[in-house]
């Protein structure tokens, strides 16, 4: 598996590598910036008062709790619906197989669909090297054995 993953840092310059690392770090910081409200809450816990005033004196926490509650309800409903649906399908179709195995496609079906000669198709399918010619409407015009010498 090791050789499957291509991680060749040497292909990039030191500058490119360093900037990737640094910018990603900065972006993590920005990401945390999104959480300023949470940080503020923690700050309040640590003794800073403004949040206390906003959230409790002004009852700002009600809105947050309401939002969170609404949010959790929707997530539960969505997830629950999916779980119920999965369970329904499981019990409804468990061990039932209404469908019969489809008839295999044979030379005649294929030949008819692609407008080629059925007997010849049988032969082509046994060939190792083939070359196919098409018309402008993407219909097969000819199929022939490919000879290496044809390629010049």
């Amino acid at each position: 598996m090791k050789e499957l993953i291509i991680n060749a840092p040497t292909v990039q310059s030191l500058w490119q590598r360093t900037t990737s690392v640094i910018f990603t770090f900065i972006f993590w910081m920005i990401w945390f910036f999104l959480w300023i409200p949470l940080a503020t809450l923690i700050a309040w816990y640590l003794g800073l008062d403004l949040v206390y005033f906003e959230m409790f004196e002004m009852e700002g926490f009600r809105a947050v709790i309401e939002d969170l509650f609404r949010f959790l309800t929707i997530v539960t409903l969505l997830g629950g619906a999916l779980a119920v649906w999965a369970a329904y399908n499981y019990f409804r179709f468990k061990g039932r197989e209404k469908r019969k195995t489809p008839a295999l496609v044979d030379h005649d079906n294929l030949a008819e669909y692609f407008e080629v000669h059925a007997e010849e198709l049988k032969r082509y399918q046994q060939e190792k090297l083939l070359t196919v010619e098409f018309d402008p409407e993407a219909r097969i015009v000819s199929i022939q054995r490919l000879e290496k010498r044809d390629l010049g």
């Binding site: 990401w31 999965a86 399918q125 060939e127």
Partner: protein, 456 residues
């Protein structure tokens, strides 16, 4: 005579009543519409803003929950990982198909990997689709060295769909596993795939688990996370809905008799993989996702390459949405509705984001009526939620994925970029993709695009 006139009188009075009632209803209707209109005017924009913000959030949870259900129900119980092969009741012969267009650089490795399959009975059909490089020479040389390899040469360039169709015609077997010319199929993959075909006659196709090889640059690493956290989670969740949006074109397997029923691959759709997935499922076939069927692929590592690829995907999705719109209205197509709605809503969301952003910008330049003001693009408590949700989604997906790749958790550090880059590219490509799909000339043939194959 008398009876007749009474009859007509009662009809006349009925119809007068009917007209009065209808006029009343109309009047009431207009009042309701007036209020609804006012309400919409006052609230619709607010609703759009909420939708723009909450849509990715709720979808993330839907995917996480769906993927976890899938993991608990199936994946967890299936051996120790991809290399722990299942025992099959039988091993029917398989044709492995590799369409190639100018793959000279990579195709040797692709075919050598296919020869390593731990499956007893298979042939390999490499299709050279009018390449202008040395692809054909390499294929012929390999065919000479290995019995299993057959070569089909298309004299003129026909596109991937025609290459696949021709291979299906000339192949010997009922089961076709199709991979791209630059993809390396893990030696265990065919066995894992065949398990589904043998489990029941409903299964028409199986899509594998594409793993990204190119991880040198930031963009490469972000996509590793994307394939795990978005594509992998979505495919698992969609297996729970019962229908899959698309087979991955890079690694998909098909039952030939199912393909025959729906008429093989379309050569006028820009993403033939999405198209065939929809046609098979509209014909009531099942498509399965097999996470153990690993296929190692090369992805773009430049923004231009990524943009082109994603634009193609977006356009392809919309083309399919438009083409099968009518058939979806039927009750018998109901199992596809979830997938259809999911995609339609995501397209609507992309436009909502664009509108929101434009109004936000406009707010700085002109004075907008209060109900059209976008206060900020940075959500407050919502931001906490969104940030936590993303990190949770990555954690869940990397946890599930660590079954297939040890040490994938290290990618977590780089993933922080993903929401920004992905959602921005996704919004822009969807907006542009809709326009491209609508304006496309009807019946225009799809052609190959030379991909960006990353930094190597």
């Amino acid at each position: 005579m008398m009876e007749d006139s009474v009859h007509w009188d009662s009809i006349a009075s009925w119809s007068a009543d009917l007209w009065t009632t209808m006029a009343l209803l109309l009047q009431q209707g207009l009042v309701v519409m007036k209020y609804a209109g006012e309400w919409l005017y006052l609230n619709f924009f607010r609703f759009l803003l909420d939708f723009a913000f909450y849509y990715p959030l709720f979808m993330a949870y839907l995917w996480i929950i769906g993927a976890l259900i899938y993991y608990v129900r199936w994946e967890r119980k299936e051996g120790k990982g991809a290399e722990d092969l299942p025992e099959l009741p039988s091993y029917p012969p398989v044709s492995l198909i590799v369409p190639c267009h100018n793959e000279g650089e990579v195709v040797r490795e692709t075919l050598k990997f296919l020869l390593l399959q731990k499956y007893p009975n298979y042939e390999i059909i490499a299709v050279n689709d009018g390449s202008t490089d040395n692809t054909l020479d390499i294929l012929l040389q390999l065919a000479e060295e290995h019995d299993k390899i057959r070569v089909v040469n298309l004299e003129s360039n026909q596109g991937k769909a025609m290459a696949l169709n021709t291979a299906a015609l000339l192949s010997n077997h009922e089961f076709l596993v199709c991979i791209d010319g630059d993809a390396l199929l893990a030696p265990e993959a065919v066995t894992w795939i065949m398990r589904h075909f043998l489990s029941g006659p409903r299964v028409a196709a199986v899509t594998g688990n594409p793993r990204i090889r190119t991880r040198t640059t930031l963009l490469g690493r972000i996509q590793v996370g994307e394939f795990s956290a978005i594509i992998g989670l979505i495919k698992r969740a969609q297996r729970i809905y019962g229908r899959i949006f698309t087979i991955s074109g890079v690694v998909g397997a098909f039952r030939k008799s199912a393909l025959h029923r729906v008429g093989y691959w379309s050569n006028d759709m820009i993403t033939e993989d999405i198209d065939i997935s929809w046609r098979l499922q509209l014909d009531h076939w099942d498509i399965r996702y097999e996470p153990h069927a690993l296929c190692w692929i090369l992805m773009p590592e430049t923004l231009t390459g990524l943009w082109r690829q994603r634009l193609r995907w977006a356009q392809g999705g919309v083309e399919v949405l438009l083409r099968y719109f009518k058939r979806l209205g039927l009750w018998r197509s109901r199992r596809m509705w979830m997938i259809y709605i999911e995609y339609l809503v995501s397209v609507f969301w992309a436009y909502t984001m664009l509108v929101t952003f434009l109004f936000w910008l406009a707010g700085y330049v002109i004075e907008l009526p209060p109900q059209l003001v976008v206060p900020t693009m940075l959500p407050s408590w919502g931001g906490v939620l969104l940030g936590l949700t993303c990190l949770l989604q990555f954690a869940v997906s990397l946890f599930i994925d660590s079954r297939y790749e040890k040490g994938i958790g290290k990618i977590y550090y780089w993933l922080i970029w993903y929401p920004l880059i992905y959602w921005v590219i996704s919004v822009l490509t969807t907006v542009a993709g809709v326009v491209k799909a609508v304006l496309k000339k009807k019946g225009a043939r799809a052609v190959w695009t030379s991909p960006d194959r990353g930094v190597r």
